[in-house]
Symmetry: C2
Subunit: 371 residues, 2 copies
């Protein structure tokens, strides 16, 4: 291990919240941060320029999807994922483990790796931990993730124990296969809903040694309390001088609560997917834009928001686009929701810097309840 | 009639091509011009800012669609179509006649007006010529069109004669109903595929007196030769100091040939619809982006093009987006196709100014044949 790519700037005096930065070969990311999801070499419905205007510092790519289509070897010919998709800021790629589990009913996990079928044409595929690293190295992402195993939720202790142990052995193999040290590699802590297994997994990952640590297997149907408990059962066993990434989470409230408990990085399809379904996030709660109450509503989606959509369009116009199934609806809704998430994280960073995150959190919930 | 809103700058010495401008209350439009189609208060898949970056001077709105959804009275509450959709340059609205004819198998045309059913909910609707003007005045477009009647193609002489005569009577009623003189009103010449009926219709429209004149009922299945014949049978009978608008046309070749014969304005869904179907226009012909020959193609869509899409993305990436059905595909393809059309018209304007349009036309076909 070389020195940590994460630098801690300051910590909250009243919570686990941290303000720091992560150095990558495509630039430095200010944390805590939310990463928009760009599954198929595009953040759905927006351009890289739109993302920059919203303040996106780093995006996520899905290794499973890119491996299947267009294939990492094709992307390699274009000089990597950044060049292929015209994005010159950092990219984090997941390992494919979660997609193999969630898209594939018939995925088979053995000691060696994961056998599964393409969701596109049903062809048989196999991914070993070493393959997951090779694919990500070829994609050229800034932050790579170890291949992990996922389990249904809830899962019994034995299933969880076995799966977590296998994730630990795979993590060692990923670490050994990691040859391009310009790309960072994060380990993933599993352990299901068992506090002691979370601790054990965290300690194992730290012993193996990674550039950062992720918390996986959450936001899979458990209660908010359980999720918070599992974060709290993990973070204390991770080194303070490394970034902590909570995978696949979550709602705006989840982000606030994650930061409160020491999380530095988040990703989730929620802002982009909800945008396409017509559900918009605002500082006072969700707006379901198809509702007839917005038919003649001249207000922007969120009067507190400064995004392109809120600066230029009324709720009535956005409702018209959505009920008319216009493509511009997906574009404008996505811009708003991502801007909302990214602006929220920026406010959180400022609050942690000023050591006023407790006050910020209280105001955040106060606005939600004002609706 | 006040003085003409059209100013002729210069004419081609070798063809009917003209270089001029049309004054409207939202600004002056340099002609010849192509107008992107914004059917439902949006040019599909792009923002007004995208349109401006591409050089769009004026767009088209469809009265029929807006009348049905969201309704012109709702748009009126938002200060008109410009404010509603965040577009501050000129808008031309059609009258709804063509949509009533083409979307409605059961439309019934009487002397009084058109009875039809909503394509959304089947409700019975009625539009008289006076209503078409009122709706367009409420929408606040810069250029309004008379309600005309359309006929199947081919149509016999009697059918064509009756329909054209009714269009003439409706045009007089539209003219009488036109109370807001800040909005321009264009008459529509019909006459099917009969040269003498075209001339008769043109003379009638000129006698009624409009701010500009359109040629309707073309690009409905007739041959290119027939289309050219009908344009040539019409333009000589229209006043040289008024704009000529060829409705719903066409391919890039149609634009060149239309300008050659004296047309100043065009609109067509072809660039936007083809973009969404993955057919891209280039200076050397069409590119069907899903074709496997583009799988690893690092070139831009058109090496001669300076649009945002061609500056930043390869054919291979655009193919990936299209086969993956990503929304960004529609956005980037639409930007390219509209830019291609608008840049073509800009080149045409320059060529007419320099009186080199014959040479331009020859080069244009030369490039197409080079593929």
């Amino acid at each position: 291990m070389s020195e940590s790519p994460y630098t801690l700037h300051c910590s909250s005096s009243e919570s686990g919240a941290r303000r720091g930065e992560l150095q990558t070969r495509h630039g430095t990311v200010q944390t805590p941060i939310f990463m928009p999801v760009g599954t198929q070499a595009t953040v759905k419905a927006v351009t890289p320029e739109n993302l920059k205007e919203m303040g996106a510092q780093i995006i996520l790519g899905n290794t499973y999807h890119l491996y299947i289509r267009p294939g990492h070897r094709l992307i390699e010919k274009f000089g990597g994922l950044h060049n292929f998709m015209h994005w010159d800021r950092p990219i984090l790629t997941d390992s494919g483990g979660f997609q193999i589990f969630s898209l594939q009913e018939l995925a088979k996990i053995t000691e060696e790796g994961a056998s599964f079928r393409s969701h596109l044409d049903g062809s048989k595929l196999f991914l070993a931990p070493e393959d997951a690293i090779e694919v990500q190295q070829v994609l050229g992402s800034d932050v790579m993730m170890c291949l992990d195993t996922c389990i249904p939720s809830p899962a019994d202790r034995k299933t969880t124990e076995d799966s977590t142990a296998l994730t630990g052995r795979w993590a060692k193999r990923c670490r050994a296969a990691h040859s391009n040290r310009e790309q960072l590699l994060f380990g993933i802590v599993q352990g299901g809903m068992y506090e002691d297994l979370r601790r054990k997994s965290a300690e194992e990952m730290v012993a193996t040694g990674f550039d950062g640590y992720a918390i996986g297997g959450l936001s899979v149907g458990e209660s908010k309390e359980q999720m918070h408990d599992m974060i709290e059962a993990t973070v204390p066993y991770l080194p303070k001088d490394h970034a902590v990434y909570l995978m696949g989470v979550g709602t705006p409230e989840d982000l606030v609560e994650g930061v409160w408990r020491g999380v530095d990085m988040f990703d989730c399809v929620m802002p982009t997917r909800n945008a396409r379904n017509g559900t918009l996030f605002t500082s006072t709660g969700k707006v379901v834009i198809k509702n007839s109450r917005y038919r003649e509503d001249e207000k922007p989606v969120d009067e507190r928001c400064s995004c392109y959509t809120c600066r230029n369009y009324s709720r009535a116009y956005l409702r018209h686009l959505f009920v008319s199934r216009e493509i511009l609806s997906y574009h404008l809704n996505t811009i708003h929701n991502l801007h909302f998430y990214l602006a929220l994280m920026e406010e959180i960073r400022t609050a942690v810097e000023n050591d006023s995150f407790g006050r910020f959190r209280k105001d955040f919930y106060g606005r939600l309840e004002s609706e």
